[in-house]
Symmetry: C2
Subunit: 165 residues, 2 copies
Amino acid sequence: MPLRSDWSTEPCPVRRSLDVVGDPWVLLIVRDVLHGRGRFDQLRDGLGISEAVLSRRLAAMLDAGLLERVEYADGARTRQGYAATEAGADLLPVLQQLALWGERHTALPEGGAHMAMVHDTCGAETTRGEVCSACGAPLRPEHMTWVKPWLGRSDRLVGPGTLLG
Amino acid sequence: MPLRSDWSTEPCPVRRSLDVVGDPWVLLIVRDVLHGRGRFDQLRDGLGISEAVLSRRLAAMLDAGLLERVEYADGARTRQGYAATEAGADLLPVLQQLALWGERHTALPEGGAHMAMVHDTCGAETTRGEVCSACGAPLRPEHMTWVKPWLGRSDRLVGPGTLLG
DNA sequence: TTGCTCACTTTCTTCAGCGAAGTTACGCTG
DNA sequence: CAGCGTAACTTCGCTGAAGAAAGTGAGCAA
């Protein structure tokens, strides 16, 4: 399901990556899934995306190996949701780099606030997206918490295969 | 000139970034401009993008402060091209992160080859996109060379405001 | 059996992408 | 000076994706 032209066989790795993640929805879906919010309705409500587009993106992302299906309990029922694969979770540095760029180069909206990315392993806020600026360790989703003051909430990220009911 | 919905006033910095760079062409244009290839015809030929779309993207990127106009000499004439601003050049970590992800998680095409990102300051290939894995310094475009074996060529990147004639 | 939730799928309109052709500016050639 | 070439766009026509909203089906619960 190509977004536009097929760039999957380009020699340049940037272009091959963009063939898969060169759509804003894909990165936002990965972000939410890494927050453990991988149910269809959670994604729809959290992102404000049309159901048709969400459905198509999820199918493409399963196909590309960014997501996998996981089961969760809804009362007595078992339903299907989505979780990140290793490849999907490995997009964390890209997401955090985007967050850092956004903090540096876009204007905070009315009532907005700085989002801190805390490395739970060492307890410090990191000012880098790839390795912790405090302890130098490579950053993994399951060791990160995103502090979102505008929601009055801190969200712990989850590793590959994880979905919070 | 919004791509779709306007995300410029979202509280989440990831979303605000994607409002600006959430289009594959935008990142590819930044990449080529950071290689000094910021002329309209160079971008068109190098990217294989339609002229209409390129024109619209360049206008949006000027507007967003990613690019600025610079003059260059074409024989006796002075023409206008594009160069990265400080904000545009600061997308380098995002681009390099995408390149690294592509190398790890997408298949090398027939006749393809690994692309090395060399930090000219210390002379080593870096395996990270944000700070040099060899010397630890933050990576700036003007200190990087991208080695592209499939072209038999190494391209030195350029800093903000620079355009190679 | 009716209703409810969740996960989709279908339909319809609008808008963006792509390819190709046209336009403008300006210097160069004959 | 008339015509030509090149770079940088703009316009046009077609097609396909986005988005909004309504419809479908599966499995419970009352």
